[in-house]
């Protein structure tokens, strides 16, 4: 049985489902829906704040359970083998030594005329080899990425705002009971740090420029704190949603 508490459903919706795995009776599947969108906050005289999220976290708290190995959604596993590109560059440097003993180093590319050097100067050509190595690795961006501490980070590749369904009854992980546990409870929380909230102020649909950069940052803190609705216990993070499910034995 699961209970979903979505504080601001027009911004974030998190739904949790737990059910026994079909192919292994000892395992339980944790499936999740996660929907995100920007939402408007309307004030007096046509003032409106558009609130969106740039990065969100979901964290899983398990009681009497542990995550099965290799069963996490969005594991950013690095390939063990990486292509290394090696380039070798050879430069020829011509040195000219004047009679007075002054050493002049000349770039051969500068000789666009007849290429002659003043009589009396002795010159020699020396090779200089530069070797550079570049490790190249292409990896796709993982929108819902497994992180340490039973957490998942949700972000777009280029810092774009989160908008859309990021998990649709997807298997977040599989869990197994720990020995001797009295109860088996799964708790899932979706939260964002206030620095990852994006705020746009408009009046009658027209963007309002902030007086200073300080104004913009301060207002963001005020609105983030108000959204969190946690009052004096506010600590810079906003819990948007909490779901819990108990696994029946």
């Amino acid at each position: 049985m699961t209970h979903d508490h979505n504080a601001i459903v027009d911004l974030v919706e998190l739904l949790l489902r737990v059910a026994k795995a079909e192919n292994d009776a000892a395992e339980t599947e944790v499936r999740v829906d996660l929907r995100l969108a920007a939402a408007d906050l309307d004030g007096d005289n046509g003032l409106s704040f558009n609130v969106a999220v740039q990065k969100m976290w979901i964290s899983l708290d398990l009681s009497g359970l542990t995550i099965s190995p290799g069963a996490r959604h969005g594991e950013p596993t690095k390939p063990n083998q990486v292509d290394v590109e090696r380039t070798t560059k050879t430069e020829n440097v011509v040195e000219k030594q004047a009679h007075a003993g002054l050493n002049l180093r000349l770039d051969p590319k500068a000789f666009v005329g007849d290429g002659s050097i003043e009589g009396g100067a002795k010159h020699n050509s020396a090779g200089k080899r530069t070797v550079s190595e570049t490790a190249s690795e292409k990896s796709p961006h993982i929108r819902v990425k497994a992180r340490g501490g039973n957490r998942w980070e949700i972000a777009e590749a280029d810092g774009e705002l989160l908008d859309g369904t990021y998990l649709s009854n997807d298997l977040l992980c599989r869990v197994v009971a720990t020995a001797g546990a009295n109860s088996q409870i799964v708790e899932l929380c979706a939260y964002a740090k206030q620095k990852d909230i994006v705020l746009k102020a408009t009046r009658n649909g027209t963007r309002i420029p902030f007086l200073t950069n300080n104004h913009e940052k301060m207002l963001k803190i005020l609105i983030a704190k108000a959204i969190s609705a946690s009052g004096s216990s506010y600590a810079g993070t906003i819990a948007f949603s909490k779901s819990e499910g108990e696994i029946e034995k």
């Binding site: 504080a7 906050l41 200073t212 104004h215 963001k220 005020l222 704190k225 609705a229 810079g236």
Partner: protein, 366 residues
């Protein structure tokens, strides 16, 4: 946690009204703004986005910036101490970056603290010689720079501090670290004009191509010390971002008593506008750029027109092959109508600069 409610139900009407009032709140001081909004320094700034914030004239003692993004945050006359929590905060290129890095390095290398102590205990002349030796370009390393920077904080004498800045400028190799050191100076020593001037000069010389540095220079434009103001103005005038901050510096340019600065301002603006404007802004007497406080007379514009027309004609003749047979003097003669037409063009150009860029040129007929 309440369930399935709309964003408008979560945020109270009072908060929205406060937000509305704040949008028109003209105070830019960080501390005053926090107070206006009723924010709690101990809790509300954790994980906050404070990138590029100006902390000028604020005591940050007791502020908790845990996990906050403070990159590029600067300020003048900023107080902060051990009660300012910066755990997990991103502080690159900010006024905090120097102190954070310094604490880390000194914890790892206690011998550096002993070296600082020795220089601190020396007579100031020996301290300067010690710094000169430390920052000798042939043997300077990262540790020596940290010792010099820390000594800057520990010694009160102006001469020692100025010398440290002087010796340090040519040997720094990490611009972010160096900027962090300079921002730290602004935050902690803004009441010492000579130190501020040295730091402003260093910032202008090395980082005028950095918008964050230009913003810091701009924050000194209303400083009580005229030399500090002019040093900041000079730095902005040398910046590639000059046109972006032009409106911000205009009133300070107008108030400046330094004719050279005003001429440099005209030069930068004219170069941005194009060759005709550069020509129009010539001061035939000084052969440099005009001072916008001097009256633009028709006589001056005629003289400027003659100078440029003659120069153009000379260049055309010099390009001709074979050489013309008539004498150079005859060749360079100009028609009066041609001069007057060019002078009228220059008058239009200067008026356009006054209208568009708000440079207060004074015209004879005004």
């Amino acid at each position: 946690m309440k369930n399935n409610i709309d964003l408008n139900d979560v945020v109270s009407t009072d908060t929205l009204r406060l937000a509305q009032k704040f949008l028109a709140f003209e105070e830019g001081n960080f501390g005053a703004q926090a107070k206006f909004l009723g924010l709690d320094p101990k809790k509300d700034f954790q994980h906050a986005d404070l990138r590029g914030v100006d902390f000028s004239d604020t005591n940050l003692g007791g502020f908790n910036f845990r996990g906050a993004d403070l990159r590029g945050a600067t300020g003048v006359n900023v107080k902060w101490d051990a009660t300012t929590i910066l755990d997990g905060a991103e502080t690159a290129d900010s006024l905090f970056s120097f102190e954070q890095a310094r604490r880390k390095i000194f914890a790892e290398k206690p011998k550096l603290a002993e070296q600082v102590q020795r220089l601190k205990d020396n007579h100031w002349t020996n301290a300067i010689l010690g710094v000169a030796d430390l920052l000798d370009s042939r043997k300077v390393d990262a540790d020596s720079l940290w010792v010099a920077k820390t000594l800057f904080e520990e010694r009160d004498e102006l001469s020692v501090r100025s010398n440290i800045l002087f010796f340090m400028a040519p040997v720094v190799d990490d611009p972010e670290e160096h900027k962090g050191f300079i921002y730290n100076i602004f935050a902690r020593h803004s009441h010492q004009p000579n130190i501020v001037k040295s730091a402003l000069r260093t910032l202008s010389a090395l980082y005028s191509g950095d918008m964050g540095a230009v913003n810091v220079l701009a924050s000194y434009l209303d400083h009580s010390d005229i030399e500090v103001r002019d040093t900041a103005l000079r730095g902005i005038l040398s910046s590639p971002f000059f046109m972006q901050v032009r409106d911000r510096i205009l009133k300070f340019m107008i108030a400046s008593g330094d004719a050279d600065l005003r001429r440099t301002f005209v030069a930068r603006a004219a170069r941005h506008m194009g060759p005709t404007y550069v020509q129009a802004c010539l001061d035939p007497q000084t052969k440099g750029f005009a001072d916008f406080k001097e009256v633009v007379s028709s006589r001056r514009l005629t003289r400027v027109a003659e100078v440029w027309l003659r120069k153009e004609k000379f260049l055309r003749i010099a390009d001709q092959s074979p050489r013309p047979t008539m004498s150079l003097e005859n060749s360079l003669k100009l028609k009066e109508a041609e001069i007057q037409e060019r002078a009228a063009n220059y008058l239009d150009a200067l008026m356009h600069m006054r209208d568009v860029l708000k440079i207060p040129f004074v015209f004879e007929d005004d």
